[in-house]
Amino acid sequence: MSVENSTEMRALIAAGETSTSFGPGSVRGAGVLLLLAILSANPRRNEPIEDAFEGSVQNLTCAAAF
């Protein structure tokens, strides 16, 4: 039995929750949130922000969620 295999096996068995989050609040999601903040600063009058820019904000939100 190689030491490398044994060490890797024990690490895989003991692995719990990942320490990296890919959720909306993560670094990866920060770009989308920043874009949303920029877009939301200039909505058209009387137009819901979700529908602004031909629905692109809504599309981005869905993309971030899924």
Binding site: M1, E8, M9, L12, I13, A14, G16, S21, G23, F66
Partner: protein, 244 residues
């Protein structure tokens, strides 16, 4: 879609993914012939393949335990070889307890398919009875994630009894893992939720199918986790448990 991690080739993790993929396919398709040694291919004769067997633990036997397939003698021998080749560590109490619970589940699963695994060389000693599971949902979820291979119909009755009434806590853990895109943890917690839903207050089987979140969560995990065989294995086991 997120693919947070891809295993490197020629590692135990790769062998684990190969075997997990074969296990999940066997669980989804009843008519598919399945053998552990055959599924490992070239990995079967190396320590990497044996280590993969240890990583998946009792889950290696799920196509036999949950579908009624007979366990080939060569596969039972392979599991025993893996246990002997990769004995449980006995240095750290926390790791020993984790391995003890996992190995107890392996012995239970072996017994379910007619193999007496008690006393096999390399198995961890049975974990001592503890004073109860973590009171808060976050610690409970963190505790149960690495113990997912023990979440099967023959799971330790004492553990299942302690989990009774903790469904909301398990669901909170599932939602948190989904939000963090930690798909493997989410799938493992979904499996515990299914098992919890099948136990009544006194550990008796009930017809509860889990919270309303469970079915869409499993579908979600199948789609987003399609690139990770270990996620698909957990989901396949959960679905099999739900169908029982």
């Amino acid at each position: 879609m997120t693919t947070p991690h891809q295993p490197s080739p020629n590692t135990v993790e790769t062998a684990t993914c190969v075997l997990a993929g074969a296990l999940s396919r066997a669980l989804r398709e009843d008519d598919r012939s399945f053998g552990v040694r055959h599924s490992l291919g070239d990995w079967g004769d190396g320590t990497g393949g044996l280590a993969a067997l240890r990583v998946l633990g009792a889950d290696v036997l799920t196509p036999f335990v949950l579908t009624g397939r007979p366990l080939p003698a060569e596969d039972a021998a392979l599991v025993r070889t893996a246990v002997r080749a990769h004995p449980a560590p006995r240095l750290q109490a926390r790791e020993t307890a984790l391995w003890g619970t996992r190995d107890a589940a392996l012995v239970d699963a072996l017994a379910a398919v007619g193999v007496d695994g008690a006393g096999w060389e390399g198995l961890a000693p049975a974990p001592p009875p503890n004073g109860g599971l973590a009171a808060d949902w976050l610690s409970l979820a963190a505790l149960l994630v690495p113990l997912a291979s023990a979440a099967h119909p023959f799971a330790d009755a004492a553990l299942r009894a302690q989990l009774a009434g903790r469904g909301p806590d398990l669901t909170r853990g599932l939602v948190r893992s989904l939000l963090r895109r930690d798909l493997l943890s989410a799938a493992r917690l979904a499996r515990w939720i299914v098992l919890d839903g099948q136990s009544g207050p006194a550990g008796q089987p009930s017809r509860l199918a889990g919270p309303p979140l469970l079915a869409p969560a499993l579908e979600h995990l199948e789609v987003l986790g399609s690139g990770d065989p270990r996620v698909l294995l957990e989901v396949a086991v959960a679905r099999r448990l739900m169908a029982r």
